[in-house]
C-alpha cells in the first residue's frame, strides 16, 4: 500500500521492500542494520522475503566490501548498508581491484549482484571527518555506476532496476533530506540506464544538477518561472561512459547551461558536458555552481549549506 506523504527515507525503503519481497535469496548486511537506530534510520522498516537474510555485522568495512563482491562472484545477491560515505573509503581497494578481476575474467552471465547502499553525511555539524560528500569520486575511482537518489521517482526507478541487478554499483542517499517529505514530482523523461532524469522543460536555459542538488535546481527553476523564464532541469547520476546527448541537445537549444554540483570534489562530471560543447561550433554559455577547491572551513562542524545564487543565474540567462 502506498505511504501517505512519506519522508524521503521512508519512500525509498518502501521501494526497497518491494524489491526484496520477490528477489529470492539476498543478504542485506550492515552494522546495526537490525539493532538500535537501524543505521540512523537507513534500515528502519526493512524487510526481506523468506529466503532473504538481514544480518548485523561488526566494524570491518574493508572486509564488508570484499564479502559483498565475493557473494557477487559466487552468483549471489548482497547489499551493504553503510552509515556514511567515508566508511566506504576503507573498502576502496576491494571496490577497484576485486571488481576489476570479475569484469575482466568472469562472464557477465555468471555475475551475481552487489550494491552499496550508503548515506552521504551532508547535513552539516557532523564534523570534519564526516563531511566528504563526493559520490561521483567513487564512480571515477572504481569506474562503476553511482546513483544519487534525489526525487521520489528517480529513486524508485533506480531502486527497482538496480538494487539487486547483476553487477556492482553504489546507491547514495542524502542525510540532510532524510526527514524531509519525499520530492514528489513526475519525471518527464529518463535515459534508459537511469543516468539522466529530466524533471522540467523549457527553452531558456539548461540546468544540470549533480550529487544532491536537484532540490536546489528546482528551487532555482521556480524563481525562473516566477519571472517568465523556463528551463530544462536534469538530475544527472554518475555513470561512467554515459550518453550525454540529452544534455548536449538541450544546451545547444537553450545556449545557456547552468551546472549545479554540491559535492566537494575537484573532478566534476559536469566538465565532460562542457568539454563536449567546446568541441562543437555552437556558442553555449556556461555558469557553474560548484565547490571545486573547497575552503578549509567548509570541512568543519557548520551548516555546510550549498547556496546557488539565483540572481546571478537570472543575470546570466538575461545576458546582463
Amino acid at each position: 500500500m502506498p505511504l501517505a506523504d512519506p519522508t524521503y527515507i521512508a519512500q525509498i525503503i518502501a521501494q526497497v521492500n518491494e524489491v526484496t519481497a520477490r528477489c529470492g535469496p539476498v543478504l542485506l548486511f550492515g552494522e546495526n542494520i537490525n539493532y538500535g537506530s537501524r543505521i540512523g534510520g537507513l534500515a528502519r522498516g526493512l524487510t526481506v522475503n523468506s529466503e532473504g537474510v538481514i544480518q548485523n555485522v561488526g566494524n570491518c568495512e574493508l572486509t564488508h566490501l570484499g564479502v559483498g563482491l565475493g557473494i557477487m562472484l559466487d552468483g549471489g545477491q548482497a547489499v551493504q548498508f553503510g552509515k556514511q560515505l567515508d566508511f566506504i573509503v576503507l573498502g576502496l581497494e576491494q571496490a577497484c581491484d576485486t571488481f576489476n578481476f570479475i569484469r575482466a575474467y568472469r562472464p557477465r552471465s555468471s555475475w551475481g549482484s552487489f550494491t552499496i547502499f550508503v548515506v552521504v553525511c551532508d547535513q552539516g555539524y557532523q564534523g570534519p571527518q564526516s563531511s566528504m560528500n563526493a559520490a561521483g569520486d567513487f564512480a571515477s575511482l572504481a569506474n562503476i555506476p553511482v546513483y544519487c537518489l534525489n526525487g521520489a521517482e528517480d529513486a524508485a526507478r533506480v531502486v527497482r532496476r538496480h538494487f539487486v541487478a547483476p553487477g556492482f554499483r553504489i546507491l547514495c542517499l542524502s542525510q540532510r533530506h532524510f526527514a524531509s517529505p519525499a520530492l514528489q514530482l513526475p519525471v518527464e523523461w529518463a535515459a534508459p540506464d537511469e543516468s539522466i532524469f529530466r524533471y522540467k522543460s523549457g527553452d531558456d536555459a539548461t540546468v544540470a544538477a549533480f550529487n544532491f542538488s536537484l532540490r536546489d535546481a528546482l528551487a532555482m527553476d521556480r524563481a525562473f518561472r516566477a519571472v517568465g523564464i523556463r528551463s530544462d532541469v536534469f538530475h544527472v547520476n554518475f555513470i561512467p561512459g554515459m550518453d550525454l546527448a540529452a544534455l548536449l541537445d538541450s544546451s545547444r537549444r537553450t545556449r545557456k547551461l547552468i551546472l549545479i554540483d554540491d559535492s566537494k570534489t575537484v573532478t566534476k562530471f559536469g566538465d565532460a558536458i562542457v568539454t563536449e560543447l567546446a568541441s562543437s561550433s555552437l556558442d553555449v554559455g556556461v555558469l557553474s555552481y560548484c565547490r571545486r577547491g573547497s575552503a578549509d572551513n567548509e570541512y568543519g562542524a557548520n551548516e555546510d549549506r550549498f547556496l546557488p545564487d539565483v540572481d546571478r543565474a537570472l543575470a546570466f540567462i538575461r545576458g546582463t
Binding site: C60, G70, L73
Partner: protein, 273 residues
C-alpha cells in the same frame, strides 16, 4: 623461461610450494572453492593438470578476451575450482569469506580454501576476515604459506614475530601447523581443517615453506640473494641446508645416488631446453 625473459608478464615462482599445492588438489572436493594469491602457479598446475594450458596464459596465447589471456598475477583457470586470485595482499581473504557467506545464505555445500602468506597476515583484512568468519560461522580454511619472505625482506628484517596459534586461540579459530615439504603432513592438516570448516568453524593452517630465494637463482638487484641452487649448476645442495628444504627432503627420500642421477638429468634437460 622466466630468467631467459620469455614472458612479457611477471611470474611469481613457487619452488618449494609444490607439496602444498598437490595436497590442496587432493583435499578439495568438487563443491569447494579456492582463492589464491599472486604466487598461484603451482596451484593452477595442480588443479588443471595441464602445464600447456597454464603456459598459454603466461604467453597470452589466444584472441584478446579469450580464456588463455589471464597472465599470472590473477590466474584462476576455469574448471579448476579456483574461484578467485588476487595480487593484493590479504584481498582474497574477504572475497573468500564472501563466497562462504553466499554458500551459507543459499544453503549450498562446500568450503572455501584461502591462500595467504606471512606477509599478508600483517594486513588488517586478515584480522577482520577471521573475526567476520568466526562471527558468522563461515566455512573457510586459510592456508598461511610462511616462507619467511615478503619481497626481499625476512620476517626478522621487517616486523616483530606473530604467533598465529595464539591469534587463532584468541579468536576461537582452529589452528594447525605443518611442514610444507611433506605431502602427507600437509594433506592431513588440510583435511582436518576442511572438516572444521564444514562444521562452520573457520580454520587456519600455517605451512612452513622454503621458497624462491633458495631455488630460483640470483635475482637482479638483490645482492644478498643466496644463489645456492640454480638449474645450470644442477640440484646442488650446500653445506648447512635447512633439513626442511624440499630438496634436502627429496635427497633423503631418494638416497644420494638416485638424487645425483636426477640432478644430472635436470641439468641435461635444462641444457637441451
Amino acid at each position: 623461461m622466466l630468467k631467459a625473459g620469455q614472458f612479457k608478464i611477471p611470474v611469481h615462482l613457487a619452488f618449494g610450494h609444490e607439496a602444498v599445492a598437490v595436497a590442496m588438489d587432493l583435499t578439495m572436493q568438487a563443491e569447494d572453492a579456492l582463492c589464491l594469491t599472486h604466487r598461484n602457479g603451482a596451484y593452477n598446475l595442480a588443479r588443471s593438470k595441464s602445464f600447456d594450458s597454464e603456459l598459454a596464459h603466461y604467453e597470452l596465447r589466444g584472441r584478446s578476451g579469450s580464456a588463455a589471456q589471464m597472465a599470472s598475477m590473477n590466474l584462476a583457470m576455469e574448471n579448476t575450482g579456483i574461484a578467485y586470485t588476487s595480487s593484493i595482499l590479504g584481498n582474497n581473504m574477504a572475497v573468500g569469506a564472501g563466497i562462504a557467506m553466499n554458500r551459507k545464505v543459499c544453503h549450498r555445500e562446500g568450503i572455501v580454501f584461502i591462500l595467504t602468506g606471512d606477509g599478508a597476515i600483517e594486513e588488517g583484512v586478515f584480522w577482520e576476515t577471521l573475526i567476520f568468519a568466526r562471527s558468522h560461522e563461515l566455512g573457510i580454511a586459510v592456508v598461511v604459506e610462511n616462507n619467511n619472505f615478503s619481497l626481499g625482506s625476512t620476517i626478522a628484517q621487517r616486523r616483530s614475530p606473530i604467533d598465529l596459534s595464539l591469534v587463532c586461540a584468541g579468536l576461537g579459530v582452529s589452528f594447525r601447523r605443518a611442514t610444507g615439504a611433506e605431502l602427507p603432513e600437509v594433506k592431513a592438516a588440510l583435511g582436518a581443517a576442511r572438516s572444521d570448516a564444514s562444521r562452520g568453524c573457520p580454520a587456519v593452517i600455517e605451512v612452513q615453506l622454503h621458497t624462491f630465494n633458495q631455488h630460483a637463482g640470483p635475482t637482479p638487484g638483490w645482492a644478498e640473494d643466496p644463489r645456492r641452487i640454480a638449474l645450470h649448476d644442477g640440484l646442488l645442495l650446500g653445506q648447512g641446508d635447512d633439513p626442511n628444504d624440499p630438496l634436502v627432503r627429496l635427497q633423503q627420500a631418494l638416497g644420494e645416488e638416485h638424487f645425483r642421477r636426477l640432478a644430472e638429468q635436470v641439468v641435461q634437460e635444462n641444457a637441451v631446453g
